[in-house]
Symmetry: C2
Subunit: 459 residues, 2 copies
């Protein structure tokens, strides 16, 4: 670890912990004041790190924190994107330590300790690496690129207002590449750079049978039960080979070449460890694809939530009036998230039997994305990782989505480099989310190497 | 209406309203004090009506209210069974008037007004008819049978402790027939007597996939989603003909003869009215049976409640760890409710894929039941209805369950006569449950006719 990091690591951690203590949950309006506090905190820390300007820019939703350090207009400019909002921590009772009271615990995967807190990996721990890396480069008198910081507060709820911010600030946001740390490496001794992200289409459906809850003795068997019907409709969304049956769903999926597939499969992966970590006996998915392919280069459909009827203590013999589900699909190039939403809407309504009425509503979504591997940004990322880890990083395709990445390309003409340092086992979006101390400090160490290599490649 | 009823109808209604105001919800322990109040109230009213003794008999659960009026041991004895507990009123927000503040409103089906309150029809309004009928017969100096009253407080939660009470009090409960008002007539101008009840088996299942909620981007497509799996398992419980696929489910179902089916189908029924009342475009059910047959003489399977994953506001991209459902089956003779529970348990576990773990637990249940139509009790019921309504009543088979009826036969050797005055449209177990004023007073008028005819037939 560099001397500067070593000398300042306790302060870095304390600052990060204070950041993590602010419950900046974007999905739930009761945390609105904490969203403001988190934005103000990171803005202060950006100024303290040495950026020339840092401001909180209001939007129709949560504000964007924007900061700049322009060294020399002749140098390349890196636009760092991240988010200061976090996922809800529910269910709280499944956390071993409070989600907003950061605690360091040692684990098998993180023998040197990991920071357990909501947002430690997704995304506050990772954006804070950038703030400290910039501080370090400035302290060393060695910032080889201009840097612009854009931290938003709505990534976990679909970045609804970031698009407007971007469109209204194209001049301000002019840069050469976007750098994002919101993804993972394969393992702490196996560095990797993600070359792609899946897209997302998130839908909500309701099924209504009779106009009121009914006595299941008086009416059961004679009237369609909307819960049973919803189950049948959901079950029909996959066929026996694990393929999604929504009409037209796969039309625009770009298949990878066998060579591309082989390259991705060459990365280390232990199926037994994977299953053991999740405590499952078997994996399953689309026929003809491996576990990793199913989680990265193939589109999916998952029910994220389902409810209907009586769900309390004991029993109630009701034939419910309504049933509901939240259903989302991960997409791959070249599927279009809005087109998929329309295809799902049409299909779901078409498969509804005449005994019920269905509604389909759309939540947020985003396009899939692939980084071009010939670009200076991608090469700089690979060189930085190799220098920091002492081995060539593996290119991987990520399963998650960062919907705004496609918008950045469309509005700013910029490619995004996915330069994350988390691990898939860090329990993002789950209870007991954590981020390795090793990962946090490694990121602070590696980010300046990206700046160095990028500046060199852009000469 | 008889003079006595006419002179006392306001008092009768006020007393019933006070009874309905007590929220005697057996399923929810927070209403425990109200259960006691309701038992004490009905006990007081039984004594006031003229029964010789009335006592509150404790059980391991809610108490039984037991009362007697022995006129002459040479006369036949009628044992009146009913329940003073009610269904939970949730969801409260769907009631147009408060569930425990009885309100009279006129409706299309009840142009003279109906009493809107939880328990007005199921079962307090109906048991109170018996209390007032006995009062009237005693005031007239004309009670032609002995009467024993057994009102329990656990019918809505499976009558768990009534069996013990019955077994411990066989001598005390000696009688010639059991009379129960907890069912319905076809319409206010079409009297009917139910000749059978369905049984009930109520199960709860859980499906567990990964050992924690997962990020649906990182893991979606590669790991079985327990919500999707539960939907598939539930969907598979019916085939394309609407038949239940649980192995062995139909083995003991006694088919009715065509003659019996024709007799039941002869009763008036308007499918268009039925659908319009529920605001559904189509009915559906087991192929080869009519709507009424599906709701009475055929067994069923319904999901009463389902939940799993994120069900709050907005979206959460989670691949849930667990999914749950409450599933119940209505049974017909000669299915055995405990055997069906075992068959369901075995079947559900057998169809679970290796990617998940399932649990199956049993809630309450009860046997199906048929009254023999050659009995004095049944004949007395038919004659009483004919005399009160001026037309022959139609024999019907009920869809609902009163689990204790089979236990009465087994332990006391007594048949039960299903002599109810409600309507299927009274929204039992639903918001806005109600009971027609006409029905309430007609019952008070008709019950003494049962006593008269029964005493005559038993001479």
């Amino acid at each position: 670890m560099s001397t500067y990091i070593d000398q300042n690591k306790d302060r870095f951690l304390n600052e990060l912990f204070d950041f993590l203590r602010i419950p900046s949950v974007s999905a739930d309006s009761k945390f609105q004041p904490d969203m403001i506090r988190a934005a103000e905190y990171i803005k202060e820390k950006l100024l303290a790190a040495g950026l020339d300007t840092a401001e909180i820019v209001p939007t129709a939703g949560h504000p964007v924190v924007y900061a700049e350090k322009i060294v020399d207009t002749a140098l390349p400019t890196i636009l760092v994107y991240g988010h200061y909002d976090v996922q809800p921590a529910d269910p709280y009772e499944l956390w071993d330590s409070p989600p907003f009271e950061p605690t360091i615990k040692k684990t098998k995967i993180h023998p040197e300790g990991a920071i357990f807190a909501r947002g430690s990996c997704d995304d506050k721990g990772q954006i804070y690496m950038h703030v400290k890396a910039i501080e370090m480069m400035l302290a060393d008198g060695n910032l080889p690129c201009n840097v612009k910081i854009m931290f938003e507060g709505e990534e976990e709820v679909g970045s609804e207002h970031l698009g407007t911010f971007v469109k209204e600030n194209k001049e301000k946001l002019k840069a050469d590449v976007i750098l994002i740390s919101d993804t993972s490496i394969i393992a702490n001794d196996i560095p990797s750079v993600e070359t792609g992200l899946r897209g997302l289409t998130y839908m909500e459906v309701s099924v209504t049978g009779p106009n009121r809850d009914l006595h299941s003795g008086v009416y059961g068997g004679a009237v369609a039960n909307p819960v049973n019907v919803l189950c049948q409709m959901i079950a029909s969304l996959h066929d026996a080979d694990g393929k999604i049956t929504v009409k037209g769903f796969y039309d625009k999926v770009a298949e990878l070449t066998q060579e591309e597939r082989d390259a991705l499969e060459a990365a280390p992966f232990d199926l037994e460890d994977y299953k053991a970590d999740l405590a499952i006996a078997e994996v399953t998915g689309e026929k003809g694809y491996t576990t990793r392919e199913r989680a990265s280069i193939r589109p999916t459909l998952d029910v994220n939530g389902i409810w209907g009827g009586y769900t309390g203590e004991g029993s109630k013999t009701v034939l419910p009036s309504k049933a509901f589900a939240k259903i989302s699909m991960r997409l791959v190039p070249d599927q279009d998230w809005e087109e998929i939403a329309e295809l799902f809407d049409a299909h779901f309504k078409a498969i509804a039997p005449p005994t019920v009425k269905v509604t389909v509503t759309r939540h947020h979504g985003g396009q899939p994305y692939v980084t071009p591997t010939e670009s200076a940004g991608y090469k700089a990322a690979m060189l930085a990782m190799e220098e920091a880890y002492g081995k060539k990083p593996v290119p991987t395709r990520g399963g998650g989505s960062i919907p705004i990445v496609a918008l950045f390309e469309k509005e700013l003409g910029l490619k995004s480099i996915l330069f994350g340092f988390g691990l898939d086992s860090d329990a993002l979006h789950s209870p007991n989310e954590h981020y390795g101390l090793v990962n946090f400090f490694k990121g602070i160490e590696t980010i300046p190497l990206f700046y160095k290599h990028y500046a060199a490649l852009m000469k």
